[in-house]
Symmetry: C2
Subunit: 173 residues, 2 copies
Amino acid sequence: MAEHPHRHPTAPRDWVDGHVDRWQPVLPELDPDIEGAVTRMQRLVRHLGRVREQGVAEHGLHKHEFDTLHVLAGRGGHAAPSDLRTDLNLAPASVTGRLEALERRGYISRTPSTEDRRKVDIVLTDAGRAAWHEALDVVGREEHRLLGVLTVEERRTLSDLLRKVMLVQEAGG
Amino acid sequence: MAEHPHRHPTAPRDWVDGHVDRWQPVLPELDPDIEGAVTRMQRLVRHLGRVREQGVAEHGLHKHEFDTLHVLAGRGGHAAPSDLRTDLNLAPASVTGRLEALERRGYISRTPSTEDRRKVDIVLTDAGRAAWHEALDVVGREEHRLLGVLTVEERRTLSDLLRKVMLVQEAGG
DNA sequence: GCACTGTATTTCGGTGACGAAATTTCGGCA
DNA sequence: TGCCGAAATTTCGTCACCGAAATACAGTGC
């Protein structure tokens, strides 16, 4: 039977339900709810990423450019490359590449730090702040469209359940 | 006040709670539960990806290689590139690249389909199936460790809420 | 002052992913 | 039959990312 045993037989099914059904005979030890939740998170995150890419493109930015400006703005407009490395979860080499591109476009400035000369001071320029701010409202619109189907209580339940999982991850293994 | 207004004041807080608090003054229109849920999904997905990458590496595979073999095995060991394209959410060009690498390693075979000559029959070889099977039990262990903190009912609730969101995404804009 | 260890950043070489365009084949329709 | 739009796959050019090594500097111990 392809139906989830505890759901209403006519409840709408998404792509992942079919995915889980296909795997059930191959890997019977699979928990349908764990597999379903993880797979849905993966696909939702990927979808939101694509939409953001496409949305900020209308403002002349790429997703990774916007993300970089975003964390920079979140830090008050000035930071060191190593700060961005942790916030963006990037390899050091990748930060350099992003900053070079943003500097060429005039969105940030890079000056050697006087206080610690290993460091580099990254400052968001006025142009950079303007670009970030223009693209800002596009981001989050899709998140609201998708999660908007949930009631306020459901949204809080979702967030709370995910927090519970996050805490296990943060505690480490 | 940094506390979420409806949660118990001493409830444990994860990294995302702090993240939301930091952005709240900058972007007051932000819904904490939407932002929290989305951010947590993003970080959980990235974490699971890293663990999977590291886990299958012990068996001489990369994450994207394992994922490809996994989907192929899930379809009974034979499929067309376009099947993988949808299952893996990839651009057509990326599928070709992955298949070429797997073919070089002897894990799959590619033969032009006789029935529809636009298509290509991809078949999992014995070596490919063995590689997949060896790495298999590593994958999913972390998912169970993390989502295992939730009760059976909570897991189903989580999966159901995410399905509700997925259906909106699948319906399109 | 000098060696040593650790940190910050960049450079280099290589790989995977993507969009766009080309190629081959299918399926319908005149 | 012969054409034509659609579908499946590959090729091509480009780009961001990563790991590892290189460079430059800071801080500590002697």
